[in-house]
């Protein structure tokens, strides 16, 4: 079993979250989940520092569509 806190991920919190879902995990499975979450957490810490307040999820889809409209006629594409 891995340490109580692994890469900023609190094992007890993860265990509680999984227990709330109703899915039963072995201690080894919890270990593997904690390790994966630690990797994700490092990525999140690096990328999610800037404020996200005005960045709504649908803004992503608007950007996909609007970029296509803005650049549609360039170099005969």
């Amino acid at each position: 079993m891995i340490a109580h806190s692994h890469g900023g991920i609190d094992r007890a919190t993860v265990e509680g979250r999984v227990a709330d879902s109703g899915v039963r995990l072995t201690p080894q499975e919890v270990d593997a989940v904690v390790r994966s979450l630690a990797r994700i957490q490092i990525a999140a810490a690096a990328l999610l520092q800037s404020p996200l307040f005005d960045q709504t999820i649908e803004q992503f889809y608007r950007l996909l569509e609007s970029d296509a409209a803005d650049t549609a006629d360039e170099i005969g594409r």
Binding site: V23, A32, V33, S36, Q59, D67
Partner: protein, 480 residues
């Protein structure tokens, strides 16, 4: 005609439309190959031979009668077993859905049918499309036609193997983290992952609604272009499908081989991440592929990109969280019916916090915007590897639910997953072989909805490098 299965999809369609080839003969030729090669490849889950024969006879009668013909008239296709057809079993590569019979038909299947495609059956895949290698504990591992001990890539494993081996002229796949592009690369065929929203997902098995994308595999760039022209476009049954008009993706491909066809196009080589730690043999092939593009008139330039390694991790968080939510009832009640590896991947999603999940989604617009402003203002197309190393063996990647499994699988999808997060289109084109005889590929990436440009560059590469994807040489002896 000697062996009609060696034609490209577009050549086969033209031969049928002009009366030089009967659809029935072509379907029989493909079914004959399925019968001979299925025991070795295990790429089909179900063959619908009689329905295919009936549809082929009808296709031939339509040609004789002078009816208007669709762009795929009489062409044999086969598809990953996750696209619903009303009344027919759709296993999703799983034990849990082994007897699932949907009551509706996927929009993509309807469109392929309407274009005249002949459906040969359903193809093997990773269980619930969760796995980048081609392993499947329930239906058996799909084998790479170039070498049976190597992975096919996944999750659209059967799509890659069947198209590469000439059992079908094209196949649907799905791509949530690389599931079209990886098998295309590992099996030596062309694969397109379109822009997020370009293709309707109605009637396709869901995995991660933020990242799922329907794509295609075929043996030539022009074949993928034709297939995408057929399946793309708005769909009243899928509110997330873009209403943007669908261009004729084949337009402009006829002069792809002419000198200077890529003049004015800049191919960008990322200055970090995508090439980090690449195997030297693979790197050499990629350099040579850029020389071909340069000879066609393209300019090659180093361009900056952000740290897409962290983007890949965020994509993983989104995929596992959304996947776990979909699978929660079965994870609770039928845990024993999942393979170890698939269950282990889904369990990660149960631990992702709601806040992290939503922030990962929120950050997509900023990260896409950065890439468009800082990278795609300096180039038109990005050129990156799909795999950074030669295609691995099945044993190397058969890691079950071990503790190293997420890392090993993470390495395989490292160069494909960022595109799903960013929503961008990616085209995979074969570029040659490593010393182990396995194919390698380049991945071309463009701005949103720029699939036409990708096809243009891919077709120019094909023309400049001597033609479309080869058929596996190792198969010749076993078939002839």
């Amino acid at each position: 005609m000697s062996d009609p299965t060696t034609l490209t999809l577009r050549e086969a369609a033209a031969a049928i439309a002009q009366g030089r080839l009967r659809a029935e003969a072509l379907v029989e030729a493909c079914l004959d190959r399925v019968e001979r090669l299925q025991p070795a490849l295990n790429c089909f889950i179900r063959v619908t031979a009689e329905a295919a024969r009936g549809n082929a006879r009808a296709a031939d009668m339509a040609v004789k009668a002078g009816h208007a013909l669709g762009p795929l008239h009489g062409v044999p296709l086969a598809h990953k077993d996750m696209f619903y057809r009303a009344g027919e079993i759709c296993s999703c590569g799983s034990k849990i859905r082994a007897n699932f019979v949907p009551d509706h038909t996927a929009t993509v299947l309807r469109r392929l049918d309407a274009a005249g495609g002949i459906d040969l059956g359903r193809l093997n895949m990773a269980e619930f499309a969760l796995g980048p290698t081609g392993h499947n504990d329930h239906f058996g591992r799909c084998r790479n036609p170039w070498s049976g001990d190597r992975i096919t890539g996944g999750s659209s494993s059967g799509s890659g193997a069947a198209v590469a081996a000439g059992l079908a002229f094209g196949a649907l796949g799905s791509d949530t983290g690389g599931s079209v592009r990886l098998p295309a690369a590992a099996c030596g065929v062309v694969g397109i992952k379109p822009t997020q929203g370009r293709v309707s997902r109605y009637g396709a098995m869901p995995l991660s609604h933020s990242l799922d994308c329907i794509g295609l595999l075929a043996r030539a760039v022009g074949d993928c272009a034709r297939l995408l022209s057929v399946i793309a476009g708005a769909d009243d049954r899928d509110g997330m499908a873009s209403r943007r008009a669908v261009p004729d993706y084949e337009r402009g491909l006829h002069d792809a081989g002419s000198p200077g066809s890529l003049a004015g196009i800049t191919i960008g080589v990322p200055d970090r991440y995508y090439y980090d730690g690449i195997d030297h043999e693979v790197a050499d092939l990629l350099v040579r592929s850029r020389v071909v593009l340069e000879a066609q008139g393209a300019k090659i330039a180093d361009v900056p990109v952000g740290d897409h390694g962290v983007i890949s991790e965020l994509a993983g968080a989104i995929m596992t969280a959304e996947g776990a939510a979909l699978h929660l009832p079965w994870l609770r009640d039928r845990p024993q019916d999942y393979s170890e590896q698939v269950r282990a991947r889904l369990l990660v999603g149960l631990g992702v916090s709601t806040t992290l999940y939503l922030q990962a989604l929120q950050a997509r617009s900023r990260l896409l915007d950065e890439l468009l402003r800082e990278t795609f203002t300096k180039c038109d197309v990005l050129h990156v590897p799909v795999l950074k190393r030669p295609v691995p063996t099945a044993d190397e990647t058969d890691v079950g639910g071990s503790t190293t499994m997420p890392r090993v699988l993470g390495e395989i999808v490292a160069n494909t997953r960022p595109l799903n997060y960013l929503g961008l289109p990616g085209l995979v084109v074969p570029i040659g072989f490593t010393r182990n005889g396995l194919p390698q590929a380049m991945q071309l990436i463009a701005r949103p909805f720029r699939e036409s440009l990708l096809f243009r560059v891919g077709a120019a590469y094909e023309a400049g490098s001597g033609g479309h994807a080869e058929r596996p040489r190792s198969l010749a002896a076993s078939v002839i």
